[in-house]
């Protein structure tokens, strides 16, 4: 079953014209810089990485209008990932945040 990483990498590939391998690799680099794991990626995590880190990664690769591309990728990923709201974050942050807020 495809996860949000696959969906976002597919959208990035379509919106940039990068090859599949390069799109996935670029997304992985941006996620790593943001301290986020590809497995179990959540929508808020993807949005933060695409908004704050990905534009730089795309500019480094010579792509113009990086911020617009990222906004489009977020939109594509959200529409393809329709059940995202029903998915509950189960990453360590979510678990330790519950203990923090108690």
């Amino acid at each position: 079953m495809a996860d949000l990483f696959d969906v976002a990498a597919g959208a990035l590939e379509r919106r940039t014209g990068l090859g599949s391998l390069e799109a996935r690799g670029t997304l992985r680099i941006a996620l790593k810089a943001g301290g986020v794991a590809a497995r179990g990626l959540s929508e808020p995590q993807l949005r933060a990485v695409l908004e704050k880190l990905m534009p730089h990664e795309l500019e480094v690769r010579g792509l113009r209008d990086a911020e617009a591309i990222c906004a489009a990728v977020i939109e594509d990923a959200q529409s393809e990932w329709a059940d995202v709201a029903s998915r509950r974050a189960s990453d360590p942050d979510e678990i330790f945040r519950r203990m923090l807020d108690d």
Binding site: G34, A37, P44, K52
Partner: protein, 247 residues
């Protein structure tokens, strides 16, 4: 246990039990498995510490070995939910983590049962292979916690920079990593302590002091995690208005 060291052990038991009950209540309220597993670990550890100290407090020497064995069984049983917590929270879906948790659990069971079958009910015989199996079984999970929580702390610092994680949450991982590292140090400190006991029949004052110091450091970490003082919270979070501007 010499002098008034039992007082610190009872204090530890109370803190562990309090933290455990709090986590279990959270688990029941939200039907959350991770809190339930961690809460079970802390409650069982608290009961175990109390079992070890009961004969010392009541000054009934004949109870020492049976209650020490009961404390040992309860402590080892508490490590099982703790291992499941590590597997579930830090390595969900990683097959190797499942094997590591199972191996650690098997080491505990083998060490406990083998040691008891050989007549070592207190689990302090350094010349027994069973002791070392059990020692590895209860030390490994804390080394795992220290490593996993420190790795997560480093990742969380990156998430803080893009507004995904609160600084206080990133700091929590560091506190858990220190708690794990201190527990490993306490396990290592048991070795000269037991060696001393084998030679002289009593625990030396210095080994009691060392273990007590490490235990207090552990309690300090739990205090910061579960009863975070406002001053500490402000120090870690910094000025909220400045952070809002940065994001």
């Amino acid at each position: 246990m010499e002098s008034n060291a039992w007082l610190f052990q009872i204090l530890s038991a109370l803190v562990y039990a309090t933290v455990g009950v709090r986590l279990l209540r959270m688990a029941l309220r939200g039907r959350e498995l991770p809190e339930g597993l961690l809460g079970s670990y802390f409650v069982l550890t608290g009961i175990s510490y109390a079992a070890y100290q009961l004969p010392v407090i009541l000054v009934v020497d004949t109870w020492y070995t049976p209650l020490a064995f009961a404390g040992r069984v309860i402590y080892d049983a508490g490590m099982l939910p703790f291992l499941l917590f590590l597997r579930l929270v830090f390595h969900r879906g990683d097959r190797w983590a499942g094997w590591l948790a199972a191996a650690s659990g098997l080491l505990l069971a083998a060490g406990l049962l083998g040691g008891a079958a050989g007549g070592d009910y207190e689990g302090v015989s350094l010349d027994s292979t069973w002791f070392w199996l059990e020692w590895t079984g209860y030390t490994l999970p804390f080394a795992w916690l220290a490593w996993a929580a420190f790795s997560e702390h480093r990742q969380a610092l990156r998430r803080v920079r893009i507004g995904l994680t609160r600084p206080l949450l990133a700091n929590r991982y560091l506190l858990w990593a220190i708690f794990g590292a201190v527990q490993v140090a306490a396990s290592v400190a048991l070795i000269p302590m037991y060696a001393d006991y084998a030679r002289h029949g009593v625990y030396s004052a210095w080994s009691d002091a060392l273990l007590g110091g490490l235990e207090n450091l552990s309690l300090g970490m739990l205090w910061l995690v579960f009863f975070t003082p406002a001053l500490y919270r402000r120090w870690i979070e910094g000025d909220p208005s400045a952070r809002a501007e940065a994001h």
